[in-house]
Symmetry: C2
Subunit: 281 residues, 2 copies
Amino acid sequence: MWPERCRAILVSKPSVMVIYMADLLVWEKPDLNTLPGVIKKAIVEGRAVIIIGECSIEYEGRSASRLGNGERILIIKQDGSVLVHRPHGYSPVNWQPETSVIETWTDDEGRLYILAVREGPREVLSIVFSRVDLAVSMKLSDKAEFIMYLSEAEIKRILMDNPELVEPNLRILEDEKKLGSGQADIYGVDGNGRPVIVELKRIPASREAVFQLYGYVKSYEAKYGRRPRGILVAPSFSPSAIEALQRLQLEYKLIDLRELYRLALKKGYRKSILDYGRKQV
Amino acid sequence: MWPERCRAILVSKPSVMVIYMADLLVWEKPDLNTLPGVIKKAIVEGRAVIIIGECSIEYEGRSASRLGNGERILIIKQDGSVLVHRPHGYSPVNWQPETSVIETWTDDEGRLYILAVREGPREVLSIVFSRVDLAVSMKLSDKAEFIMYLSEAEIKRILMDNPELVEPNLRILEDEKKLGSGQADIYGVDGNGRPVIVELKRIPASREAVFQLYGYVKSYEAKYGRRPRGILVAPSFSPSAIEALQRLQLEYKLIDLRELYRLALKKGYRKSILDYGRKQV
DNA sequence: CGTGCCAGGTGCCAT
DNA sequence: ATGGCACTTGGCACG
């Protein structure tokens, strides 16, 4: 049933085991009393910890939550970030961001307490394990650079190199022009010398985006005494966005992300992976 | 150095091991060729998989990204959701939501490929492991109910039970009144019979919240021919929010989340955990 | 530190 | 499916 190169070891009752390798330690069915030491040592040495077992959770901070007993995966990273994952879904059910300080101990009944505390705002995450099936401690080395394509920043770069994609004869004057409390994505002048403010969205534009653009237009008008054109650039527009655009006398321009991506691919000589596993027709 | 109840086993060269328990299997330094079978079997049986090792990642979908070799933690959950975590931070560096379909194989050079593909929108996540230190497969049982306190929904419930916290003599008429494209949090009438629209924020209110409220007020006016009062209720207000409130002739009301939480505690007989680990003064 | 704003935002619920 | 919006949003940049 299992690949033949795997050996299977049946462990019928709780036991404790450490497999020691270069930088990975594994405890199977550990005595919970040993884990506070494991966790503290890991944190001191910059190691990450994974604990799999049955726990209950309380959180209190900006909000508050409670979760009864269940089997979950806990990850404590080197920087103090904590994640608790249930068996389903993308999001952790509870977590603590990286600035948290971790305390851990066991009580008389052998339960393992893990407390992740963060200040400003004060938030407390309390995890109590009644049973641990597996604990792993590891030092991860990961120095690779993460490269993101098609972010709003990259789209803006493409549009600023090719302003005719927004409007013919548009001349870019300024990137991230400060206006009022925020900053306009792109500022320039059109073929008739009229100032143009461009707000760019890489996702379908909602009414919020229109208000954002409107705020820049109003700030510009208040500052320079001249009403600029305002153009919302996005791959699509919600009905409420279009209604608001018309009401506030603003313009909009569709962009085709695929087209922009082809442009980026051409410039960067990158190969698409989107066809992986696609059904052959 | 380690707690004395732990046994340490030194593994000097790659080997393959399975620890079999009720519902948890562990492979240490597995031959990568065995892992596609492990993963496929896990998915079929509704088990989650954790793989720790060195991998590179490509993603393409709504955006696109690339990440070179590094040591990471991969989680594949029962529902097809995939998370890849680097050694630092709260967020996974790459992921795939729960609807993804997972394919996995190895190539001639023994590298492990894991492809998570999602449709609508089509997104492809490709993970290639060149080395795996640990693989875990487990069936997690977690039926507990997650209870969230102090969400906006709970705050609204408290305010609707105690409308005087918003304004004396306020009478609530409607919850989530549909107005235009969105819906106002609370709708009622004040002591003088004038309609009141309340927009509630559980976080510091920004200018966006003011525009949101303004949209509801305008929609109400357009629909009923009468300008209602608009009250923004929040724990604090940004300067730009206050400026916008005054410009648009809207009102605002501070709420004290702690006070509301005490109310909720009193009703729910819950005990705060915020004092855990706080320094004694 | 707060303020503003993007994010492959995610999640929930509505039509 | 799309729209509207809250979220312990997280994350970054900037003053």
